[in-house]
């Protein structure tokens, strides 16, 4: 079930986005990026199942948390250190459906890695998206370091680091939060808690209910947010970002959410979670829920919805067509950029 209008009223009424400082246009822009993230992801699964590309890893179900939080940051100025599901974050930060598809097909032109990394390993220096590898939680320390550099140069840029609740078990998570707390760095730690690290449920990952509770141990606030409520995510992030920009230090935001797909195209989630559970969460789909709000608020008409659908579909179509035909790297590309300063082998 989508959220009822009465619930929306309870959360601040039909102008909730305005009370958060978002214009109607911005509210719709958030919606469109969520839709785009979903549409690119769905197309990737389709193509993967047709055998045209070997691997997909998904953002589906978490777009509200991702776009809601990214929307509280200043693109091109602030930094993000995303994890592999964060299509919503990187699309908000300026990557495109074409970039996504170039990565999906591992083409030479893939701006993340030139076809070297699996899809979902985002990175773009110009857009202030810190490159990520596959080991989890390492990016939290990178985010602390990026924020340290901002502090050293007396700049007020904020760095947001995203990770799953599985990565919360890594030592690097502790080390990053500890360091950021000591130096009151402008970091927003965002735990996208979707309940499972591949197959392992949260109950086997930690003995507590809320990852956010750990923030107390690092001397900064931790907040729990409904990750499928995009405006709630935006609101929490805005507060955390403002606090960070004022030099008051980090915040840990835990968004409670769910992934709709298996961990990846190589996973079978029927082995570890019941279909009924997935079905219940699908009814809390952050996109549908936000659409209901926008319609109730009177800014998402059928006509606007249709325009958005058309634009999104067109972008995905064009991106797919372009990327599928784009050239692969050549074997000569294997040995380049081992170092910035190219060395004779």
């Amino acid at each position: 079930m989508a959220l009822k209008t009465t619930e929306i009223e309870a959360k601040g009424g039909r102008s909730r986005h305005r009370s958060l400082g978002l214009s109607d246009e911005q509210a719709l822009r958030i919606y469109e990026v969520m839709r785009l993230a979903r549409a690119v992801d769905e197309r990737m699964w389709l193509i993967n199942r047709q055998g045209r590309a070997p691997f997909v890893i998904s953002c589906q179900g978490q777009e509200g948390a991702q776009v809601g939080i990214a929307a509280a940051l200043r693109t091109g100025y602030d930094w993000v250190a995303p994890y592999y599901r964060d299509a919503g974050v990187i699309l908000w930060f300026g990557m495109t459906a074409r970039d996504q598809m170039l990565s999906f097909f591992a083409r030479r032109e893939d701006p993340n890695s030139g076809g070297r990394q699996m899809p979902g390993h985002f990175g773009n220096r110009r857009l202030h998206i810190v490159t990520g590898g596959s080991p989890v939680a390492t990016q939290l320390l990178h985010a602390a370091g990026v924020a340290l550099a901002s502090k050293q140069r007396k700049e007020d840029a904020v760095t947001a680091a995203f990770f799953g609740e599985g990565a919360a078990s890594q030592g690097d998570t502790h080390e990053a939060m500890n360091f950021a707390g000591i130096h009151k760095l402008a970091v927003v730690f965002v735990c996208e808690n979707n309940g499972y690290a591949i197959s392992v449920p949260q109950s086997h990952q930690m003995a507590i209910e809320n990852v956010a509770d750990r923030a107390a141990g690092y001397g900064f606030p931790g907040v729990v947010v409904d990750g499928n409520d995009v405006l709630a995510c935006y609101e929490a992030a805005r507060q955390a970002v403002e606090r960070a920009r004022r030099g008051e230090g980090p915040t840990l935001i835990e968004v409670k959410t769910y992934r709709f797909t298996a961990h990846s195209s190589d996973d079978d989630d029927k082995r570890y979670r019941p279909a009924e559970e997935v079905a219940i969460w699908r009814q809390k789909d952050p996109i549908h829920r936000y659409a209901t709000y926008l319609r109730d608020a009177g800014i998402l008409s059928d006509a606007v919805e249709e325009e958005i659908t058309e634009r999104v579909t067109q972008q995905v179509d064009e991106a797919t067509e372009y990327a599928e035909q784009a050239p692969d790297p050549t074997a000569d590309d294997l040995t380049t950029f081992v170092y910035k300063q190219e060395l004779k082998p």
């Binding site: 070297r116 810190v130 590898g133």
Partner: protein
């Protein structure tokens, strides 16, 4: 020119680079007020302040991971690992992250950062304050590894490492810190990464070494001269990228090569040097390439008899060199 110790040269190198470039900063355990456990950073905290000389928490992954992030955002960090033996918790950050940033982004990102680590034995440091780590890290493409043995090279290579656009593991042999003294050129003395150096010319055999073993090999060469044997001493200085040309040149010149390091032998630097010679100068050899190394045991024990049994020393090297000369 002035005579300095290795530790003075390192301190001076950092000081000059920090004065020259405001993006250079230090992070590590006890590097602040204490000036480092070996006093490598003595006085820098007072001079540059707490934003540029940062006492880190006792967490090596944090030190390196934070340095990576700072390097992403325009800084040139020098991350100090207090002892090379404690670098293991940071290996994920070094191997999977730092070494792969450039490659995995097809050159979009690069990390101008230095990881300094005091290494090596002969100081009664036991298992966990004596280790050699160069072979482990030299195996990783994307990293550069340097191991100077003289004050001049220590300073020059440190400056080169700080200015380098890629991550450099800078190994400073702790036994050499105050033992080895030498002339350090005044002014902006930079030694290029990737260039070995013939520290002594010779014609009968070649000794190839780095770090503390360089000092021992020079001592051995002097003794060999007394026997009428002319030994050339090649100081690798940089382990990765290794100076293949210099190795091949000395092998071709003398036809007899002895490689010396205190690290364990299996898949070690000597093995790589031997492979380079076999592939490129086999026809010039007058004897099998030989090596003197530490033994294949987990680490250097505390007891002095065991420590001496582990460490290569001038006597052991001399013995092997005479055996090689006699072939």
């Amino acid at each position: 020119m002035a005579v300095k110790t290795v530790i003075e040269a390192i301190r001076e190198g950092m000081d000059e680079e920090m004065a020259r470039d405001p993006s250079v900063f230090l992070i590590g355990e006890d590097v602040g007020n204490r000036g480092g456990v070996f006093l490598a950073t003595d006085g820098l905290y007072k001079k540059y302040g707490e934003l540029r000389v940062i006492d880190s928490p006792l967490a090596e992954s944090c030190i390196v991971g934070v340095a990576i992030g700072a390097a992403v955002n325009g800084m040139r960090p020098i991350a100090e690992i207090q002892f090379a033996d404690f670098i293991a918790p940071a290996m994920n950050q070094i191997i999977e992250e730092a070494a792969k940033f450039s490659y995995r982004t097809a050159g979009d990102f690069n990390l101008p950062m230095v990881i300094r680590a005091p290494w090596g034995g002969g100081v009664h440091g036991a298992l966990y304050h004596s280790q050699s780590i160069e072979a482990t890290f030299a195996h990783i493409p994307g990293l550069k590894v340097v191991a100077p043995g003289t004050p001049a090279d220590a300073k020059g290579l440190l400056k080169a490492a700080i200015r380098d656009p890629d991550p450099v593991l800078y190994l400073e042999h702790k036994r050499t810190y105050r033992l080895v003294k030498g002339e350090v050129p005044s002014g902006d003395h930079v030694v290029p990464i990737g260039k070995a150096d013939v520290k002594r010319e010779g014609t009968d055999l070649s000794l190839i070494a780095y770090g503390l073993m360089l000092t021992y090999c020079l001592e051995v060469a002097e003794k060999l001269a007394g026997d009428g044997i002319s030994a050339e001493v090649l100081d690798l200085r940089t382990i990765k990228p290794i100076d293949r040309e210099a190795i091949i040149a000395t092998a071709r010149k003398t036809g007899k090569v002895l490689v010396v390091h205190e690290d364990t032998p299996f898949a070690g630097i000597a093995a790589e040097v031997m492979a380079i010679i076999m592939e490129n100068a086999f026809d010039a050899l007058d004897a099998p390439v030989m090596r003197v190394t530490g033994p294949d045991v987990p680490a250097m024990p505390f007891n002095h008899i065991l420590e001496e049994a582990f460490m290569p020393n001038p006597e052991k090297i001399l013995l092997k060199a005479r055996e090689l000369a006699a072939v």
